[in-house]
């Protein structure tokens, strides 16, 4: 058994954390939404086409599983790191093994989300015309695109979570705050530069012409960059 697989198994030594809870949270959220929207009739909203979701009946509750992956990412390199390293692996191997687990998990869960979206369309929003597994623009296309977008989104959030744990371990609370502030600063500087160069129309064009697939591609690039950077950052972390 390769060491990377051993690290992945280490995280799964108590399976419910990674395999069950995400879906438990989502299932609960789904049940609540279903109950609420079953009470609100869709009748008075104009229905554009059979099978589409009337305005106002999209929920954003799918975010719960994405947030959960962020939490899993933080946890995986937080509380689980010291004992993982005590089992005789380098930080590099631990990180890569954890990333491997995250990738497989994101792939499987993304597929499940895509399938649920297909069923939702087929049942006309679970019989009450809600858009739980469909999100306009982001997750509203063919099932394979939904799978890809979900996969990238979940993986990105997991890696982002890992970053926070690593930063916290290396530089403490102040470091973590600085890390967040740095990100905000980067965005701010970018906005200032664009304003100074009067480039907002160009930016607007770019984003309006960006398809969901294009956005997914961008996020994938970001995820890979974070992944590589995370491995470099964890190398000097001490436990």
């Amino acid at each position: 058994m390769s060491t990377l697989v051993k690290v992945a198994r280490y995280h799964l030594v108590q399976p419910h954390l990674y395999l069950v809870l995400a879906w438990g949270v989502l299932a609960f959220s789904f049940a609540v939404n279903l109950a609420v929207y079953a009470l609100v009739p869709a009748g008075h909203h104009p229905v554009a086409a059979a099978g589409s979701v009337p305005d106002g009946r999209y929920t954003a509750a799918l975010a719960s599983i994405f947030i959960y992956f962020l939490v899993l990412g933080v946890n995986s390199t937080g509380r689980w790191l010291p004992f993982g390293l005590a089992l005789g692996v380098s930080r590099r191997t631990y990180y890569t093994g954890t990333a491997l687990l995250a990738t497989v998990l994101a792939c499987v869960d993304g597929l499940a989300l895509a399938l649920l979206q297909v069923i939702e369309r087929a049942t006309n929003g679970w019989g009450v015309q809600i858009g739980f597994f469909r999100i306009p623009y982001l997750l509203d296309g063919p099932w394979y695109l939904t799978w890809l977008s979900s996969f990238v989104g979940l993986a990105l959030l997991f890696v982002y979570g890992m970053w926070y744990s690593i930063v916290f371990r290396r530089w403490g609370l102040i470091g973590t705050i600085a890390f967040t502030a740095a990100q905000v600063t980067v965005l701010l500087v970018a906005a200032l530069l664009v304003t100074w160069a009067r480039g907002w129309t160009g930016v607007g064009h770019f984003f309006t012409s960006l398809t969901a697939a294009g956005l997914t591609g961008l996020l994938a690039v970001l995820a890979v960059a974070l992944l590589v950077g995370g491995q470099a950052t964890i190398r000097r972390a001490t436990i």
């Binding site: 058994m1 060491t3 051993k6 198994r9 280490y10 030594v13 108590q14 509380r79 689980w80 010291p82 004992f83 390293l85 005590a86 089992l87 005789g88 692996v89 380098s90 930080r91 590099r92 191997t93 190398r235 000097r236 001490t238 436990i239």
Partner: protein, 303 residues
């Protein structure tokens, strides 16, 4: 034969202090060595660097022939049992199961048996264990891993005297069955002194004594009795530590005492007691020359 652990000029500096200062020593294969010293001497820092959990500021560290930091091949052949090991929110059996995957020589029967000795129940959540049982878990993993290099950093925190004796007995028994290189740091020196084949004493980040344990026994003797007789007997010998109370005196005489000297001491009515390892370490760590490395040799020790 290449030493299993070779440390040369190791220094570890933090922003406001030097934790290890030019530490050099070597450990041969298949020995049990005691790493002794006061609290804050640098024992834990040294062990963490050997285990690849900390990084040296300068100097070289080689375990099994290569630097241990970020080196999977070396780390897999080594286990580090530390007193403050942090575990995730899992149960004892999960920790043991995970360890069984990572250590190729893992002995599940030994793990079960050691855990039973310590009354460590597999289904308990680790975060709910008492300090002693957490130490017991660390010891269980450390022994059952049966790695070539085993590092212990005061592994018996919270263990009572009975449990500590279980640890020593189990350690020796498994070591006899499967020899390995063991480095055990402790400040309960006399209790563990029977285990050690060699000792390394660290004080304020420097090695102050590195010797075979056998060579140290008999290196100094406490001579006590009537003050004049003591003075007479120890004339011309190197001494540490003179103490006097009224007409009685107690002096630590350095150097081996042959049979003739012993007979003479008896005839003078003097009491001879060999210095224990603990007393020796206390002296080595607290003497004014504690800043300089001192290698004890059986022929005689300069005070």
């Amino acid at each position: 034969m290449t030493p299993v652990i070779a440390v040369d000029g190791l220094t570890r500096r933090y922003r406001d202090q030097v934790a290890l200062d030019d530490v050099s020593f070597e450990l041969a294969e298949g020995t049990i060595t005691g790493l002794l010293g006061r609290n804050g001497a640098g024992k834990t820092t040294l062990l963490r660097i050997l285990a690849g959990q900390e990084f040296p500021s300068s100097g070289s560290v080689r375990v099994l022939g290569a630097p241990p930091a970020e080196n999977d091949a070396v780390l897999q052949r080594m286990v580090f049992v530390r007193e403050d090991q942090a575990y995730p929110d899992i149960k004892v059996r999960h920790a043991l199961r995970a360890a069984s995957w990572f250590y190729p020589n893992w002995d599940a029967d030994l793990a079960r048996s050691v855990a039973a000795d310590f009354d460590l129940r597999p289904d308990k959540a680790i975060k709910k264990l008492s300090r002693g049982l957490r130490s017991a878990l660390g010891i269980t993993i450390g022994l059952a891993a049966r790695t070539e290099v085993t590092l212990f950093d005061e592994p018996y925190a919270g263990l009572d005297a009975v449990a500590r004796q279980i640890f020593y007995d189990r350690l020796l028994a498994d070591y006899a069955e499967r020899p390995r290189t063991i480095l055990l740091s402790t400040h309960l020196i006399d209790e563990a002194s029977a285990l050690f084949e060699s000792v390394v004493v660290i004080d304020r980040g420097r090695v102050v004594l590195e010797a075979a344990a056998d060579g140290l026994r008999g290196v100094a003797t406490t001579v006590s009795g009537p003050a004049l007789a003591v003075e007479d007997f120890t004339a011309g010998r190197a001494v540490w530590n003179r103490r006097r109370l009224g007409s009685q005196a107690s002096v630590v005489a350095v150097g081996p005492l042959d049979e003739a000297a012993r007979v003479r001491a008896r005839s003078l009515g003097l009491d001879l007691a060999p210095l224990t390892l603990q007393q020796l370490v206390v002296h080595a760590a607290s003497s004014p020359q504690a800043g300089e490395p001192e290698t004890a040799d059986p022929e005689g020790v300069s005070a």
